[in-house]
């Protein structure tokens, strides 16, 4: 494209309908390839015509609202100490051509504030070359890109759990018929892939070279290095983003932060406990938050009791919501964390693990787990419960199994719910054969742990023809001979291999 034009001129001379919305900003970004991954997918091409297109409904963040005039910006209330350079910088931040579609103005302001505060606190206000200072929205983008560059992110793509962006892209999908067979993240890349891969780096490099030339002084370089520490290190994505990142000693703050997605750890101020998972029950949202948290923990190599806490909480919530794929990811990681003796509730999760393997009928893993369990573990109520469940099922002892089902410690019942119907069918199949003369419904209700005769009847009718139940002498009976075949079919269906995404 305009690789021969120096970036600063490119900004000025490029026609306004330029197809690359983020170019003006990226001219100043550090030397790495800003892969426009998922983040920008919602509006890769919409940015330059913000004015003409209405913002999508739902989540305002995706489409930046028209920037407030610089004078109205919070920073411009500027205490007397702000130099003209700083003001120019702030103005630059709010300039419409510098807006990045994926960064919401609120986030940007937050970042801007933190940048300036940090500089003021360190007494570096006058040392910083504000005219060349990287824009906050670019910083945010860089941080995101870095996260996305991390291999761990593949989890994101696969599970389709992120709330807002998926919504946005789905909306797009309906209008963009030609792109519909591509997954949303691909779609996003389509628009500006070439620019990302080829044009930017070269322009950018040149930009950097010139700036470096002009600011030869060693102190200046040092400053730059310091300033970019948080953002430039894209080659080593595992180093902590900022040294000052809040050490996660906050304890079990359960996703109460209202700002969306990646903000959780990026904030320099502690998150506002405004929304609580229990009140809202917005699982997609909370899952997203937890994934973001987990990602941060992985990226920053944080492995301590807090990490365990995060994973445990997410695993529990995932269980509650029946999101076994997510649960399994947490479980796998937890197992490694427990091996390091970081606290938490290893026995509770060991019990879940056994139940989970029962559900997935992974015999090899069950055997391995049996081998791992110590005599000490067996004393734990949850573990011994899970072990009993296993042996009851292995023996076909449905009587015992449903007793255990009704008396499950912790959140194991959520897991057992996943396979209890399967086992009911299995038990019914056996019963149909053994009780040829028919069975009272009452007995089935009691043996198979149904809450009421009605629930039992509904379950049976869900699998059998109506004539399988008949009323005789005031009590409902299962005509086993009529039910046998359909129950057997239902059982075969239910016992087909369970396939869960992300299973180890």
């Amino acid at each position: 494209m305009n690789s021969s034009i120096p970036p600063w001129r490119a900004t000025a001379s490029a026609p306004s309908e330029m197809t690359t919305p983020v170019l003006p900003n990226t001219a100043l970004t550090p030397a790495y390839i800003p892969v426009q991954a998922r983040r920008s997918l919602a509006h890769p091409t919409q940015h330059h015509n913000t004015a003409t297109q209405p913002a999508p409904t739902g989540y305002g963040y995706a489409q930046p609202p028209p920037p407030p005039p610089p004078t109205a910006a919070p920073e411009s209330r500027s205490r007397t100490g702000f130099t003209p350079a700083v003001r120019r910088y702030v103005q630059r931040c709010f300039a419409p051509e510098n807006q990045v579609s994926s960064v919401d103005s609120k986030e940007m302001q937050e970042k801007l504030r933190s940048v300036i505060t940090a500089a003021a606190e360190d007494n570096r206000m006058h040392l910083i070359d504000w005219d060349r200072m990287i824009l906050p929205q670019v910083m945010i983008q860089n941080e995101r890109n870095k996260i996305l560059a991390n291999p761990d992110v593949s989890n994101w793509g696969s599970s389709g759990q992120f709330s807002t962006t998926t919504d946005a892209s789905r909306k797009r999908k309906s209008t963009n018929v030609d792109k519909t067979d591509l997954p949303p993240w691909r779609q996003a890349n389509q628009g500006n892939r070439t620019e990302d891969r080829s044009t930017y780096p070269s322009t950018e490099k040149r930009a950097r070279m010139t700036t470096d030339d002009s600011s030869k002084s060693k102190a200046n370089l040092e400053m730059r290095k310091k300033r970019f520490e948080g953002t430039v290190n894209s080659t080593t994505p595992t180093t902590p983003t900022t040294p000052a990142e809040p050490q996660p000693a906050i304890g079990p703050v359960i996703g109460r932060c209202e700002t969306l997605e990646k903000n959780y750890f990026r904030l320099t101020a502690p998150p506002n406990p405004d929304t609580k998972w229990k009140q809202q029950g917005n699982y997609t949202y909370i899952c997203d938050q937890f994934k973001s948290l987990r990602q941060d923990l992985v990226v920053q190599h944080i492995e301590n009791d807090f990490t365990v806490n995060v994973y445990e909480l997410h695993a529990r919530i995932a269980l509650e919501k029946g999101d076994l794929g997510e649960y399994n990811q947490c479980q796998t990681r937890l197992r490694r964390l427990y091996a390091q003796k970081l606290g938490g509730h290893p026995t509770e999760f060991k019990a879940y693990r056994i139940l989970y393997f029962i559900y997935t009928r992974n015999w090899t893993a069950i055997n391995d787990t049996l081998a791992e369990i110590t005599a000490e573990d067996k004393k734990n109520a949850a573990v011994s419960h899970a072990l009993e469940v296993r042996s009851a099922l292995a023996m076909g002892n449905y009587h015992r199994f449903f007793q255990l089902y009704l008396d499950t410690p912790n959140m194991g019942a959520y897991l057992m719910d996943m396979f209890v119907d399967r086992e009911r069918l299995s038990a019914l199949a056996a019963m149909c054969k053994a009780y040829k003369l028919g069975l009272e419904l009452r007995f089935i209700t009691e043996e198979l742990g149904f809450e009421s005769d009605e629930q039992a009847a509904r379950f049976i009718l869900g699998n059998c023809p109506v004539e399988a139940l008949e009323e005789k002498n005031g009590s409902v009976r299962l005509v086993t001979e009529k039910a046998a075949n359909s129950i057997e079919r239902g059982k075969a269906e239910a016992f087909r291999v369970v396939d869960i995404k992300g299973q180890i």
């Binding site: 492995e303 490694r336 091996a339 390091q340 015999w363 090899t364 069950i366 055997n367 391995d368 049996l370 081998a371 042996s391 292995a394 023996m395 076909g396 002892n397 449905y398 009587h399 015992r400 199949a429 056996a430 019963m431 054969k433 053994a434 009780y435 040829k436 003369l437 069975l439 009272e440 007995f443 043996e447």
Partner: protein, 447 residues
């Protein structure tokens, strides 16, 4: 001066793979305890290649292609280095550890792999070298891992991270990758096909050791995919096939495909050399539980007598199953649990409880005696047995009376009927079990 060059030439002119492979073993033989030392003293690091080139192929014999000659020189040079490491292992302060030995031996393996993958590769009859080197590669890797683990456990307090699962077997995993290269060598060309099962077995062994049984599935798939190009199984050395079948059986066994497992294990059992007691024992360890599940039969005393370990492992359980002693069975299971779980036979053995239960119920039936004979007809057993009698039988030996209530017993009976171990039905309202009158209430047991 070492014997090696002479032995090499003899082996080469006789085209004896095993003899050639014997030259590449990293251990001294009883009749030549100084074997390694004398070989190592024969040259030095600077001249080893020239020396080897001159000695191994003195007077242009054996007559081989240039590439083949170079391959052997490389292989033996790597071997010479590894031997040097081995000799220095016990000398302190030289920095030689099991890990460095593994690294040195890996070079031997890689030199061999290069030798085979070159266009004018080494001939098929030399494949035993590959087997032998692969075998020791695995052994050295295990030693190296043990060494690393022992180092770590002593330095544990100073380390932040405890080695994760994957790091525990880092060397062995590396070995697995090298062996996997050996495996992929095999199918390329006619001459190397013969190595396929041996290398597969080596990989199976390694994957089992690093607890990645799942990876074996890929190998099986790969072999099945090229089965058309491979010579028939019978054409391969029996030793390869026995091991291969054994692992195939165990892999099916772990997936609870007992029928297939039994098929493979049985053919391994049949082919197994009768002096290979250890291998026979391994095969039986899985074949017996398999047989218990598929045919409900127990091992005879004659079968187990040559294997005291198996006798200890299975006898108590078998006795309890035979007698229908449920309490004894549970005790025997928990007594042997650790061993059973370790060998991964706990789950199938657990199913033996059904057989024990069947035998117990059969006793109840037999004890019920016969109906009043009706005018001269053959006596008929009492086929209407009160559930209470089964309940009483199941309570034998249990102290917790509350645990064995009628519903549990009915549940057990239901399962026996469903699984076809008992023929009849339960008339719940009348509290009796009506068993088959056709003399097959307990199929296959004579009543």
């Amino acid at each position: 001066m070492s014997f090696l060059p002479d032995e090499f030439r003899t082996a080469y002119s006789n085209r004896s793979g095993p003899n050639l492979a014997a030259l590449l073993t990293p251990i001294a033989t009883p009749n030549d305890p100084d074997r390694l030392r004398s070989f190592h003293n024969f040259s030095n690091a600077d001249y080893v290649k020239e020396d080897l080139g001159a000695c191994l192929f003195k007077n242009k014999k054996p007559r081989v292609s240039h590439a083949e000659k170079n391959a052997w020189v490389d292989i033996f040079a790597a071997y010479w280095e590894a031997v040097g490491e081995l000799l220095e292992l016990d000398i302190p302060n030289l920095g030689v550890t099991p890990v460095t030995i593994f690294v040195a031996w890996k070079k031997v393996a890689n030199a061999l792999i290069r030798g085979y993958s070159a266009s004018s590769g080494l001939p098929a009859w030399t494949l035993p070298c590959l087997y032998s080197v692969g075998k020791y590669l695995r052994i050295f890797a295990i030693n190296a891992d043990l060494h690393v683990a022992s180092q770590e456990s002593s330095a544990l307090d100073f380390q932040e991270d405890v080695a994760a699962d994957s790091e525990k077997n880092a060397n062995l995993e590396e070995a697995a990758r090298v062996i996997n290269r050996m495996f992929t060598l095999a199918p390329i060309e006619e001459s190397r096909k013969w190595g396929i099962y041996n290398t597969t077995n080596l990989l199976f062994k390694t994957y089992f050791k690093i607890n990645s049984v799942g990876l074996t599935k890929n190998l099986i798939r790969a072999i099945n995919a090229q089965s058309d190009d491979l010579p028939p199984l019978e054409a391969f050395p029996k030793s390869h096939i026995v091991t291969f079948k054994y692992y195939l059986g165990v892999i099916h066994f772990l997936d609870e495909n007992y029928a297939e497992a039994e098929e493979h294990l049985t053919s391994a059992w049949r082919l197994c050399n009768r002096h290979a007691v250890k291998n026979q024992e391994l095969i039986l360890t899985y074949l017996i539980p398999c047989h218990l599940v598929t045919t409900h039969t127990l091992p005879s005393e004659r079968l187990l007598s040559p294997f005291p370990r198996l006798e200890r492992l299975f006898r108590p359980l078998s006795n309890c199953i035979r007698k229908g002693d449920l309490v004894g069975f549970d005790k025997a299971m928990s007594a042997g649990e650790e061993e059973f779980v370790k060998r991964r036979i706990y789950l199938p053995l657990e199913r033996g409880r059904d057989i024990a239960l069947r035998n117990l119920c059969r006793k109840v039936f037999v004890a019920g005696g016969f109906e009043e004979p009706k005018d001269g007809q053959a006596p008929v057993r009492r086929t209407r047995v009160p559930v209470a009698e089964f309940v009483a039988a199941l309570r034998i030996g249990t102290h917790a009376l509350g645990r064995v209530d009628t519903d549990v017993v009915e549940c057990h009976l239901t399962n026996l009927i469903y699984k076809g171990l008992m023929k009849g039905y339960i008339a719940r309202e009348r509290g009796i079990v009506v068993l088959s009158k056709k003399n097959d209430a307990f199929p296959g047991t004579g009543v």
